[in-house]
C-alpha cells in the first residue's frame, strides 16, 4: 500500500503531465494550421523554390504532423527546445535571457499592485460610499480602461523626458551595457552580486516606470476585488458579534475580516501575477524591454513553433504551479480546507 502523500504527489504529477502534453499538442496542431510559413522567415521572401524545399526538409516540415509532434516532444524531453527561427538562437538561450527580464518586471509590478491595491480596496470597503470609496473607484476605473500603450508613452514623456526622474526605454543606459556578466539573468541581482551598485541603480531607474504602469493595472484589479471580498465579510454576522464583544473596529477588520479574504486574495494575486508574466507585451514594446511577452508575440507572428511551444510550456507550467501554490496556501490559511 502506497503512502497517501505519494499517491497524491503521483496523481498531481500525472495530471500536470497530461495537462502540459495536451496544451503542447493543441498549440502545435493549431500553430501548424496557421497560414504563416516559417520557412520564408528563414530564407527570405525572394528565395527560390529549391532553397525553400531544402529548408522545408531541414525543419522536418515534410513529415506527417503527428511525427513532427513526436520528434519535437522527444527532443524537448532531453532539454532541447530547438532553435528559434526568428532570432536564430537556441530557444533555451533566448528564454534564459527574456524570462528573467520579465520576472523582474512582473515581480516589481505585482509588489506595487498588491502593496497599493489591497489597502486601497480595504479602505474603500470600510468607508463604503465615502469620498475614499469614490476615489478608489475612479483610480480603479482608470487603471482598467487606460490603454497600457498610451499610459506607457505618457509615463515616459512626463517622468523620463520632461522631469528626468527615471531611465528611458531599455533595461540600462548604454554606458552600463556589457558591464555586468549574467549569473542569474536578473540584472538587479547580477549587478549586486558583482558589486556594481551604479549598474544596480541605473537598472532600478529603468524598471520603476514600466513596473509602475503594469502594477497600476494590477492594482486596479486587486483593489476592486479586495473591496468586494471585504464588503462580503463585513456584512457577516461574526463581524457584528465581534464588535458587540467590544473589539475595536480595526482589530475586527484586520484580525477577522481580512484573514477570511486572504484565501480569495491569494488566488487573484496569483492569477494577476501569471497574467503579468505573459501579458506584458505592450508594456515591453513601449519600454523596449527584452521580455517574454514580446518574444512570444514575435514568435507567433513569424510562425516560429519552436519558440511558441517552449513559451506555452512555460506559461502552462507557471499557471499549474501557481494553482498548486494557491492550493497550498489555502490549506495554510484556512484550517477548514485541511
Amino acid at each position: 500500500m502506497l503512502p497517501r502523500w505519494l499517491k497524491v504527489t503521483a496523481r498531481l504529477l500525472g495530471s500536470m503531465l497530461v495537462t502540459l502534453l495536451g496544451l503542447l499538442a493543441l498549440t502545435f496542431f493549431i500553430g501548424r494550421m496557421l497560414p504563416v510559413d516559417p520557412v520564408v522567415s528563414i530564407i527570405g521572401e525572394q528565395a527560390d523554390q529549391s532553397t525553400y524545399n531544402m529548408v522545408y526538409h531541414q525543419l522536418g516540415l515534410d513529415k506527417p504532423l503527428p511525427v513532427q509532434f513526436f520528434v519535437y516532444v522527444r527532443a524537448m524531453l532531453t532539454g532541447d527546445f530547438g532553435n528559434a527561427l526568428f532570432t536564430g538562437h537556441r530557444v533555451a538561450d533566448d528564454l534564459s535571457r527574456v524570462f528573467p527580464a520579465t520576472i523582474e518586471l512582473a515581480t516589481f509590478a505585482i509588489a506595487i499592485g498588491v502593496g497599493a491595491g489591497v489597502p486601497l480596496g480595504m479602505l474603500a470597503a470600510v468607508f463604503r460610499g465615502s469620498a475614499i470609496d469614490h476615489v478608489a473607484r475612479i483610480i480603479g476605473l482608470l487603471g482598467y480602461s487606460s490603454p497600457t500603450f498610451w499610459l506607457g508613452l505618457m509615463g515616459l514623456i512626463i517622468f523620463y523626458a520632461m522631469l528626468g526622474l527615471v531611465g528611458g526605454p531599455g533595461q540600462l543606459d548604454v554606458s552600463y551595457i556589457d558591464i555586468v556578466q549574467p549569473h542569474t539573468g536578473f540584472i538587479l541581482v547580477d549587478s549586486l552580486l558583482e558589486g556594481e551598485t551604479d549598474v544596480f541603480w541605473n537598472a532600478l531607474s529603468h524598471i520603476i516606470l514600466p513596473a509602475s504602469i503594469l502594477g497600476y493595472g494590477s492594482m486596479a484589479y486587486i483593489s476592486r476585488m479586495t473591496r468586494s471580498f471585504m464588503l462580503e465579510q463585513l456584512s457577516q454576522e461574526y463581524v457584528t458579534a465581534a464588535r458587540v464583544k467590544g473589539l475595536s473596529r480595526w482589530k475586527v477588520i484586520w484580525r477577522h475580516a481580512f484573514r477570511n479574504i486572504l484565501v480569495q486574495l491569494v488566488t487573484i494575486v496569483a492569477l494577476a501575477y501569471a497574467f503579468l508574466l505573459e501579458g506584458a507585451v505592450l508594456t515591453e514594446t513601449v519600454f523596449a524591454w527584452p521580455g517574454f511577452g514580446h518574444y512570444l508575440t514575435s514568435g507567433l507572428l513569424a510562425g516560429d513553433m519552436n519558440a511558441v511551444l517552449a513559451c506555452v510550456l512555460i506559461i502552462g507550467t507557471i499557471f499549474i504551479a501557481l494553482n498548486l501554490l494557491a492550493d497550498v496556501l489555502y490549506r495554510l490559511l484556512d484550517p477548514r480546507t485541511r
Binding site: L34, P35, V36, D37, P38, V40, S41, I42, I43, G44, E45, Q46, A47, D48, Q49, S50, T51, Y52, M54, A84, L85, F86, T87, G88, H89, D94, R97, V98, L153, L156, I157, Y160, A161, G164, L165, V166, G167, G168, P169, G170, D173, V174, S175, I177, D178, D198, W201, N202, L204, S205, T285, V286, F287, A288, P290, Y295, S298, L301, A302, G303
Partner: protein, 534 residues
Amino acid sequence: MAILIRAGAACVALLFAGAAQAATPKDALVIAWNLDALITFDPAQIAEVNGNDIVRNVCDPLVGYDPNDTAKIAPRTAESWSVSPDGLTITFTLKPNLQFPSGKKATAQDLAWSMHRVLQLGFGNSANLTQWGFTKDKAAEQIRAADDRTLVVTMDRPYPPNLILSAAFASNVTFILDQEEGTRNAKITEGKSDYGNAFFKTNPVCVGPYHVTRWNSNDVVILERNDVYYGTKAALRRVIIRHVPESGAERLLLEKGDIDVARLLNTDDLRALAGNPDIHIEQSLMHGYTYLDFNTSDPILGNPKVRLAFRYLIDYAGLGRSILEYQGKPRASLVPEGAFGALNEADGLPFKLDIDKAKQLLTEAGYPNGFEKKFILSANNISPNLAQHIASNASKVGVKLDLEQMADANLFTRARSRDFEVMLIGWGAGYPDADSMISRHAVNPDNRAEAKLAQYPSWRSAWQDQWINDMADKARMERDPEKRIAMYHEIQTYMMQNGPMAYIFQTVRPIAVRKEVKNFIIRPFDVVYGSATK
C-alpha cells in the same frame, strides 16, 4: 522610523542620480532600431534589411558602388580587376593588407571558399551568383584563387562588366570570411557540412571596419572597431544598436540624447522632430518599391485595361504630399530612380488620378459597373492607409475591394503561393541596375504553376510575356551602355501599360540623427557607421 525615512530618501536620491545620466558615450555611436527581423549575420543567409545594413559595416565586398553615383563601380577589397578579351573571365587582384580582426591575413583562398559556401548552402543570396551561371557543382572551377591575392572567376556568358560587377561582385556574396574558422566550426548533419553557418550566424569573422562582439536577439547588437582594417579606420570605437520597436519611445530617447540615431520613426514623429534644432533628418531614396500586384490568372485582372485603370485610381501627387511624406517618392516605372537604365522622374510617372479615364478603361474592358475583388495587405506601417486610399477611389468606379490585413509572414506566404487576387506588397532591388527589377518583375521563364518560380514576382502574378523575356535578355547581354539604356527605357514604358504590377512609390529611408553626430552617411544600398564622428 527616522532611519527608514533616511534610507528611503537616500534610495530615491540615488535612483534619480542614476536616471539623470543621459547622453551617449563620446567614443560610441548609439543607434535605435527595430531588430525583430534580425536572425543571422551569416552573409550567405541574410535576407532582411537590418542584418544586411549591419553586416555591410562588418564585411566589405570586392567592389562597391561609387558614393557619388550608385551606377558606377568603385574598388573595395579588390585593388583592381581585368576582363579577358572574350568577356568570360574576370581577374581580381586583392589589396595587399587585408586582415581579419584577429590580425590574420585574409587571402583570395578565403574569398573563393566564402563564395563557394554561398553556392553550397543555397540560401536566397546564392541567386546573386546562380543567376549569372555559377553553380555549386562547378564552383571550384568557376571561382578559384590563383594565389593569395588573385581571384579568377569564369562566367558562362560574356555579361557587360559593369552589370556583373554591380550585381554579383558588389553584393554580400563576395565578403571574405575566415575559411579556417568556418571549417573548424562547421557542423556536420546527415553527412552534410553547414560551412560554419551556425558559427557565422553570431560571429561573422570577416574583413570590414567593425566586428560583432555581442548580439542579444531583440535587445542589443554591439560592434567594436576593427583596428587592423585596411581602409580608413572607423572614427568611433563602438557602435551600439539597441532594439527599440516603438517610434514614440525612439523619439523620446533621441530628444533626450540617450541615442544618437533613430531609425524607426513614423511620419508623425519625424514631423515633430523636423523643427528640433538638435536633430537633423537624413533621407535616402532606396531602390525598393511598394506596389499593387494583380493575379492575372483571374479573368478580370488578366485584362491589361483593368490593370491600367488601377493606375489612374492612384493619386500619386496627393499621396506624395500626405501619407508618403518621409516614406516614399511616387513612381510608376518598375526601375527605381538612381539605377542604371531608369527612366527620368517625369517619364517614370506618367499617371495621375483620373477617375473618368479609369471608368473609360473599365468600360472598354467590359466592366462598366465594376467588380468585386479581395485585396490583401500587410497590417504594418502605412499599408492600411494606402489600401484605404486605393479602395476609396476604386469604389468611385464601382470596383469593390474587400481589404484583408495580415502579418508580413502571412502575406509573403500568400504571395509566394499565388494565393491572392489583388495585393499590396513591397520589393527591394538587389543592385542599382535596371536588370535587377526587370529580371524578376518582368521576366518569367516558366509560367506553369508547377514551376513554382516564387522568386519571380512576375510568376506570382501568373504573368508572362515572351517579348519581354527576349528583350530583357538582349538588354542584359548588350555591351554598349547607350543601347542598353534605350532597351530598358522601352521595357519600362511597355510594363507601365501592360505589366501585372502598379508601382506606387519608391521607398525613402528617413533617419533622424543628433546634430553632434557628423558624417553619418546614408546611401541607397548601405549606411556607413565608420565615417561617423562626434
